[in-house]
Amino acid sequence: MEIKVDRNIYSDSCISKVVYLLSKNYSIERSIENDYEILTIIQKTDEEFDINEFWDKMNDFKLREIINTETKDIKTILYAKAFGEFDNFDENDFD
């Protein structure tokens, strides 16, 4: 089975995370053709590949990626505030 994924929509990181999650039951070969990534899926077990579940996972990981990117700086600040010995951050420390 082959799936075409538009790399303008889904990042390498997003695809990698879904491939990682599915790798118990499937061998997935990845190749790039222009703006698309082609995933060739081979079953390792009797478990049928669920294409709907695949796209659900892709969309969830894309959403998580957006959240992580948007909150990366505040997360760093919160962890630094929590575990560092300094708490004098202000707007100037924020990219």
Binding site: K24, L78, Y79
Partner: protein, 469 residues
């Protein structure tokens, strides 16, 4: 003044449970919202005022990244990791491999009762107690394990007396725990327990026929129950706790096991799966066992909830640990569900062989000549043991915030990292989550608890809250 018109999102993840979306933040707070809410928040769509207030109050969104509320967030984040503040609190002393039972699932590679050369020396005990006091924790737990530690009463007494002596100047709060099968609670052992307020942690696998089958003895259940009764009489009812291990046979009898604990007057049970060490490592099919254990756990938990609904206060301890992470601002001291992992940070093991190991499971591997998690000798310097090369290598992979398969997991904050288990089951301490039995089991149990909270909220929440005390 809070404006509902514009907002920033704070770090969170989400999971879908029964057509609901559950948002979970870095603090472990969760909120059940309609499907699609995470996407709406990312798109900064306007949400209704009540939902906005909940999201704001629970640290999922903010109007201002630099508001004083962020200091509160940081303080709560620190509290969630406060188990790190004082370093190692649990110190396990493996006194001997000698044992008086033949458990089918023995994880500790126990030896026959009359075996020689598999008990701790007094020199090792001396050095181990000194190392324990090197930890800066104001609370220390000195836990005696085996084999069957009651077969070494002189060593128990010596270890406790040594600790008491040192503690005259150290002034720590020390709890003593004796992990015993309760078969050999002699006068000498009971005298030690009474004198030093030693807690008894025993093991009981369920009804008589099941327990005896697991233990490879015809009268084990009778003797254990007699031991529990004796310990309760002499030490007090609450000084005795028990935990069970679900053998391959045991996973078929969830109701019977819970009922046996209830019948014997326990107020709680710890539903514990087999660990892949010792004899248990030979279990035929761990994938199948994990699936059966998950079913077992759910049925047993449902039954426990029913008991509580009928007015009987009865706790499932593993669920209670996870619920504390979900429903309170505090951390737990449970070493198996911590990130950074419990090894070294929260537990050290002083083995009968004179060496220090990163965890109980680490010393079990050593019985198969695998010394990967041997940190050093009791004669070594404390700093070389807890900050040595091995400890530093482990430090690179003991945070689930940073390892593949965990970092993006929505329920990461309720789970933990376990490099020793990864190594023993997958041959690699970093581990591979997609086919990890531990990941599968923890995920199933945590998701089931969330499902119960979502689907049976009014029924289960009063029960779950009563377990948090």
């Amino acid at each position: 003044m809070i404006s509902t018109d514009s907002y920033h999102i704070l770090p969170f993840n989400f999971i879908r449970i029964k057509n609901n979306e559950v948002l979970i933040n870095e603090l472990g707070d969760m909120i059940v919202v309609p499907n699609g809410t995470a996407c709406r928040l990312v798109n900064k769509e306007k949400v209704d005022e009540e939902l906005f207030k909940s999201l704001y109050a629970n640290f999922f969104i903010t109007n201002n990244y630099f508001s004083p509320m962020m200091d509160v967030y940081a303080a709560r984040l620190r509290e969630k990791k406060s188990f790190l503040d004082n370093f190692t609190a649990l110190h396990i002393f493996v006194l001997t491999l000698r044992c008086n039972q033949n458990c089918v699932y023995c994880q500790a590679s126990s030896q026959d009762e009359v075996s020689k050369h598999c008990s701790m020396s007094f020199h090792t005990m001396d050095k181990a107690v000194e190392l324990m006091f090197k930890s800066r924790s104001p609370f220390l737990t000195m836990e005696f394990q085996g084999g069957e530690p009651t077969l070494e009463p002189k060593l128990i007494r010596y270890g406790i007396e040594r600790a008491e002596e040192i503690n005259k100047t150290e002034n720590r709060k020390i709890d003593y725990v004796l992990c015993t099968n309760s078969i050999n609670l002699t006068e000498e052992i009971m005298d030690i327990c009474q004198t030093y307020h030693v807690l008894i942690s025993t093991s009981l696998d369920g009804p008589e026929w099941l327990h005896n089958k697991n233990r490879g003895k015809k009268d084990s259940h009778e003797k254990v129950v007699a031991g529990i009764t004796k310990a309760r009489t002499l030490l007090g009812h609450d000084q005795v706790s028990a935990l069970m291990t679900a053998s391959e046979e045991g996973v078929l009898y969830p109701i019977e096991i819970v009922d046996e604990y209830e019948r014997l007057g326990f107020n709680s049970i710890f539903l514990r799966a087999l660990n892949p060490y010792g004899l248990a490592r030979d279990n035929s099919d761990w994938d199948e066992y994990t699936d059966k254990f998950i079913e077992f756990y759910k049925k047993a938990l449902d039954h426990i909830i029913e008991l509580n609904l009928m007015g009987r206060f009865f706790i499932e301890e593993f669920a209670a640990i996870i619920l504390r992470k979900m429903l309170t601002p505090f951390c737990t001291g449970f070493v198996d569900l911590q990130s950074p992992a419990g090894i070294i940070n929260s537990v050290l093991v002083y083995n009968y062989d004179g060496y220090v190991y990163a965890s109980d499971e680490s010393r079990m591997l050593a019985e198969y000549n695998d010394y990967t998690f041997r940190l050093g000798s009791v004669d070594d310097k404390y700093e070389d043991i807890v900050c040595g090369q091995k400890a530093r290598e482990l430090g690179k992979i003991w945070c689930n915030e940073t390892i593949a398969g965990c970092a993006d997991c929505p329920i990461r904050v309720y789970c933990g990292a376990d490099p020793v288990r990864n190594y023993s089951t997958q041959g690699d301490a970093y581990g591979f989550r997609p086919n990890s039995w531990l990941c599968k089991k923890n995920k199933a149990i945590i998701e089931y608890l969330i499902e119960l909270i979502v689907m049976r909220h009014n029924e289960v929440m009063p029960i779950f809250k009563s377990w948090l005390v």
